[in-house]
Symmetry: C2
Subunit: 226 residues, 2 copies
């Protein structure tokens, strides 16, 4: 790596941390719990979110959608009559591959924070950079699809270490894949020993109730009423 | 986006273009065709590469593996007795999410370029930044798994536009997915009209011969004997 590039990254991460702390203050003042939902493209983040939002009666949820292009995901969430704001990360090149604290900050005025218990931020599909940029969230959660293979924890360790919950999605495909679940879980424990995990299928609904319960508990535990 | 960040990106891309051109000159002097193979994490790039390398008799192939962490992929390729060099993109943070021209340049002395007809560079699994950084390649190819969903061309358009060939992988899973292949191909044509595509299953071998033939043709067409 070029030294200049590393220095620039350090400065960027420094500034990001300052803005993330300001976001966090705003979230706590409003009494809203914030979850940063990450994962590879096509891991099933949006489908899982749709499924759990349908079951989240009693919790006032908002969603922030980060995407390089298109409003497809935001449109899907809006369909569920949930407040949703889209952050378009395309600054003129191919687009930013992650959300940063400043992008999230720019979206805050568009969100009815005071009326929410829970805000889910769906990050850009990527297993590298989103783990490097805090956005002011309380919890980092990732969705990992079994179709991606058993080796992913070893190949993208920072992401698997950064999260406190790993949702292992698309388990309905297990009979059709050469995927050794035991080996995957051993790889997961090798990079993040004992991290909480949920086996789910956003398609069949298997395990989605456990994820919904996790969200309900997180919202209740972190809420700091204004 | 912060203006400073955009300016830094412009400078980085500028320098990258200069180094990519130098790499390209070296490749052409050595008479080696270079393919930059991209795709999301778990799309099946390495498995597909393993399958096609086994069938590439008569073509002298080398591989450059870009990974954030672990030598898992490089080890798999080395097993096939193919010259392989690993580029570890981790500079101390969570790792770079793409290869750039300078990383590739740093690996060139470790490759027996003069003894190769074809060099395949397997990029970091990511649908955003790898499309922004040329590394001196002749061809850009992406692997897109049907397990990732039909909407991916619309959500990551630069990647799908940057490539001249899209390998639609894991078609063996089609009976088990809610995936409308017709809709996916229409989305693909919407962002890159008429782009060449191959339907393959690295698992069953379906279509892998067409990909091997593509590589053989590319190697023959571009080779500039020293």
């Amino acid at each position: 790596m070029h030294r200049t590039h590393v220095k620039v990254l350090e400065d960027v991460l420094d500034a990001n941390g300052t803005i993330a702390a300001a976001n966090r203050d705003d979230f706590e003042r409003a009494g809203v719990t914030v979850v940063n939902l990450m994962g590879a493209p096509g891991a099933g983040k949006t489908t899982l979110l749709e499924q759990s939002l349908r079951q989240l009666a009693g919790v006032r949820v908002g969603v922030l959608e980060g995407d390089v292009a298109s409003t497809l995901d935001a449109d899907r969430i809006a369909h569920l009559h949930v407040p949703v704001v889209q952050i378009d990360t395309d600054p003129g090149f191919g687009g930013e591959c992650h959300l940063d604290a400043n992008m999230v900050r720019s979206a805050l005025p568009s969100l009815p924070l005071a009326e929410l218990d829970l805000l889910v931020i769906e990050n850009v599909g990527n297993l590298v950079c989103p783990a490097e940029f805090r956005v002011g969230e309380h919890h980092r959660v990732m969705v990992s699809s079994v179709a991606e293979g058993e080796d992913k924890p070893l190949k993208y360790p920072l992401m698997f270490r950064a999260c406190e919950l790993v949702i292992v999605n698309k388990v309905d495909l297990l009979p059709h894949l050469d995927f050794d679940l035991g080996r995957y879980l051993r790889n997961l424990d090798a990079v993040h020993p004992g991290v909480e995990r949920l086996l789910v299928s956003a398609k069949t609904g298997e395990g989605v109730d456990a994820w919904r319960d996790w969200l309900v508990r997180a919202a209740a535990r972190d809420a700091v009423p204004a």
